[in-house]
């Protein structure tokens, strides 16, 4: 199942906003056919790292380092530049399917547009491909959904459409930023399974950005733990859950609800050695 040749190689990625470092010297690789979970709390830099790999970092971000996709240097290039340069595509699945779909265009119009973005596909072929994509993400009655507006769909269906949109460019890698956070618990599992199935069927790499350790345990092959823009751990998922090396990782695992550490009180996340950014009550010294 695991392929060893890395598809995405990130070396020394640093991202700064107006002098403040959001990501600091991040290095990791993502292999094709593998689910890599990028885990961390809010503000740890996981989302902006994902955005910069997808070529969507905000223009005011100062980015240094090197990101290669199948050997091609892609950092700092917009998706359009990448497409024109003939690089393979990295697509993005967004957190909130409500916000990721244009409310004034029908599902079909949006997918057709995404398919035709390559500038080579005709209208009829694109419509056929769009129906195929809707079918691929297991949307019932794709023919009927095709001409409906996003607000008529449930959250889970919308997220399937978002995934179909992401697949339209035939990407070699998907960056999924909290793809299940905005969904009901029952739907979360379905969407995760869908992403994993698509990854296997299409041989993509999947970079799963999340703060939900349940999602990590269910879906990931590898865990990258981030905090304050730094990578703290890069381990196989089983190793990670068996016993993280970094105290922050241990504290994070212990902080999951419904679990007690065997000895003594729970370690507090704020007391671990990485610098603490969380102010307010109970955080004592920091």
């Amino acid at each position: 199942m695991k392929a060893n040749n890395p598809l995405i190689v990130v070396r020394d990625l640093s991202i700064a906003f107006a002098g403040a470092k959001a990501v600091d010297g991040l290095s990791f690789t993502v292999a094709a056919g593998e689910v890599t979970a990028l885990v961390g709390e809010s503000g740890s830099g996981k989302t902006v790292s994902g955005l910069s790999i997808a070529g969507l970092a905000p223009p005011e971000a100062r980015i240094t380092g090197r990101v290669t996709l199948a050997g091609a240097d892609i950092l700092g290039r917009t998706p359009r530049e990448r497409r024109l340069a003939g690089h393979p595509a990295v697509s993005m699945v967004f957190q909130d399917p409500q916000a990721a779909l244009n409310p004034v265009l029908t599902i079909g119009e949006q997918i057709v547009e995404a398919v035709r973005a390559d500038g080579r596909t005709g209208a009829r072929a694109a419509a056929a491909r769009a129906l195929e994509l809707l079918d691929l993400v297991r949307i019932p009655e794709p023919g009927r959904r095709f001409s409906e507006y996003p607000h008529r769909l449930s959250g889970g269906m919308r997220q399937r459409v978002v995934i179909a949109l992401a697949l339209a460019a035939s990407p070699v890698a998907l960056v999924a930023d909290e793809p299940t956070t905005a969904l009901d618990v029952t739907i979360q599992a379905q969407i995760l399974q869908l992403l994993i199935r698509l990854k296997d069927e299409l041989g993509m790499a999947l970079l799963l950005i999340t703060h939900d350790l349940g999602v990590v345990a269910e879906a990931a092959d590898r865990v990258l733990l981030m905090r304050d823009g730094r990578l703290l751990e890069d381990r196989g998922v089983r190793d990670f859950f068996d016993g993280p090396r970094h105290p922050y990782g241990r504290a994070l695992l212990a902080a999951r609800p419904g679990r007690r550490t065997r000895r003594g009180p729970r370690p507090r996340l704020a007391d671990t050695s990485a610098p603490c950014l969380i102010g307010g009550e109970g955080s004592g010294a920091c």
């Binding site: 998706p79 359009r80 993005m92 967004f94 909130d96 244009n102 004034v104 507006y149 949109l165």
Partner: protein, 276 residues
Amino acid sequence: MSARFSFSTPSTLRLGVLCVALLALLAAAAGLLRPGDPMAMVGPRGLWPLTDGAFPLGTDQLGRDVAAQLLFGARVSLAVGVGAAAVATLIGVGLGAVAGYFGGVADHLLSRLCDYVQTLPSFLLSMVLVAVLAPSIGSVMLAIGLTSWPEIARLTRAEVLRIRNADWVLAARTMGLGHGHILLNHVLPNGIAPVVAMIAAVVAHAVLVEAALAFLGLGDPNLVSWGAMIGNARPLLRTLWYLMALPGLAIFATVMAFTLLGNGLSERLDPRGAAR
């Protein structure tokens, strides 16, 4: 966007469409309903409305048919209103969208230009423009359009700013779509509803300004205009007041119709609103 018009559409829109359609119909049929030159002196002077079947709305101090003048005046009002709004929309939406979407220098330039135009008293500016360009229906359109675009530009810019960072715009960028395409298909359609409402308000405003310019004698001298009718009847306010009241009512009805249309459209253009 498919404009599906049915009887389940919001009543404001129905009323607005109805009123505007009625006005347009009356303006178009002016030549059929009251044939001949509306400026010709055809009857007795100062005939009150509803007193003579030949002149249902009476005649003015020179014996001209008031009904004919009102009907032909509707043509001028509607043409100037729509023409001026078209000029203002082209400039305002174009500049506002570019400024909001690209930001930076373009945004700075446009915002200062807006500030500059808005600090000038717009009515005086329109008067000067008409006077310089020589009064004609085209110059009136242009003068009103050139002074009323900043509001549209500001609103468009604000809407584009709100939408340009939406996830679906990011998604469109991941697809590698071009800026022009994203702006036209993903940004503008989502922010256009309030702008459309404002465009209708600009039509209403242009009708008023046209009337005011004509009242001051800056209208097209060869065409009947409601504003000119009111201006001409000014000395007769105490004796033949209907000569001011009737064109006044016509202006009121036109402004009202476009306001209703604008509000109705802004409700209708939002697909989420229409689904309710």
